[in-house]
């Protein structure tokens, strides 16, 4: 069974039903930790005093905040946890689409991040994933597959919007592997 979306792209009904529907609402399994700020700052040699000088943080942001681009890391599952089977995957809609379309490889080609209220240590972040669009089959230098756009909205424990991420993914079969 298939359906044609507004852009005239023929999609399996399962995929058409996913578009615009919030999926996989999740709440982080642990609160925001200051130590993750230092992991990111060290990985990028970022000396912004907002994160290294509590006096600056107190003056400008009323206390320590996380670097904005750490927005998504709170929702990324542990690589392993008791009782979980197989690899734990973030951005499940992306992996659903790979499976539905039978596309073993995938890359992210575009990423938009919008930053709202700062995230602070102790916050508990929640999100949901919304599939916005899926393209017709395309062939690129990587192979043949489809592009898709997934939005992820992040809120803190008070329901305050802290950020939105939008991802464009390309799932594909490598050239010559069909």
């Amino acid at each position: 069974m298939s359906a044609t979306n507004e852009a005239g792209v023929e999609l399996p009904e399962r995929v058409a039903a996913m578009i615009g529907t919030p999926m996989y609402p999740e709440t982080a399994t642990f609160p925001v930790e200051r130590s993750y700020a230092y992991n990111t700052l060290a990985a990028t040699q970022n000396g912004n005093p907002l994160y290294w000088d509590d006096g600056v943080a107190d003056e400008l942001t009323g206390g320590f905040t996380m670097p904005p681009t750490t927005l998504s890391l709170w929702m990324r599952p542990h690589h392993w946890e008791p009782g979980a089977e197989g690899e734990q995957l973030a951005l499940k809609v992306h992996f659903d689409l790979k499976e539905i379309f039978g596309l073993p490889e995938a890359v992210m080609t575009d990423n938009t991040m919008v930053f709202h209220e700062p995230v602070r240590p102790g916050d508990v972040i929640s999100n949901s994933q919304v599939l916005r669009s899926v393209s017709a089959p395309k062939t690129t230098k990587l192979g043949t597959g489809r592009f898709w756009v997934i939005d992820v909205e992040f809120r803190n424990q008070d329901g305050t919007l802290v950020g939105v991420e939008s991802y464009t993914g390309f799932g594909y079969v490598r050239a010559g592997a069909e």
Binding site: Y36, N39, T40, L41, A42, A43, T44, Q45, N46, G47, N48, P49, L50, W52, D53, G55, V56, E59, L60, T61, P67, P68, T69, T70, S72, L73, R76, H79, E87, A90, E105, V107, M108, T109, D110, N111, T112, M113, V114, F115, H116, E117, P118, R174
Partner: protein
């Protein structure tokens, strides 16, 4: 360290260029960035997976870590009062160990929104160059950052209707 002497909104004009930043990429750069962003996917730490499954030459920088590098690059320029509002980036090529990555940026817009916040738009380019090879455009980033109007102005104090990223 001090929060004083920021770049002010009124000091910035379209066409201004940010200082270039160059960094040599090692396997540690890639793995540190992936783990810092809790990205456990093997193409960011497993050479055999990256080369044999993904068909690329090595492990490569992951997307969230590239975002963090863009943040670092821009806030190096703005100082701590600069507040990121939005970034859109497009990956054209990967950044691998052995590459020298370089960040450069041009101011493409200055505008004040209805809430009175001063926004600067930047086009940031990340290139990667393997020794002896051509400079490749790896990622381009359109970025919007709020700057203070005066040394005592603070974009971080904005929220709700006064913050429109």
């Amino acid at each position: 360290m001090s929060a004083a002497a920021p770049v002010l909104f009124g000091d910035v004009s379209v066409g201004d260029e940010l200082p270039r930043l160059e960094v040599d990429v090692t396997p540690t750069t890639v793995v540190l960035g992936a783990l810092a962003s809790r990205d456990w996917r093997p193409m960011h730490h497993d050479f055999k997976f990256a080369t044999e499954r993904n068909g690329v030459r090595d492990i490569f920088l992951n997307t969230p870590n590239q975002a963090a590098w863009f943040e670092r690059y821009v806030t190096d320029w703005t100082g701590p009062r600069g507040r990121l509002g939005r970034m859109t980036f497009r990956m054209r090529d990967s950044v691998f160990p052995g590459d020298r990555m370089a960040f450069s940026a041009t101011v493409t817009g200055v505008e004040r929104d209805d809430a009175g916040c001063g926004w600067v738009s930047l086009e940031v380019t990340l290139t990667a160059t393997e020794e002896g090879g051509p400079e490749r455009v790896a990622t381009t980033c359109s970025l919007r950052v709020a700057l203070p109007d005066a040394p005592d102005d603070n974009p971080w104090s904005r929220s709700g209707d006064r913050w429109n990223p």
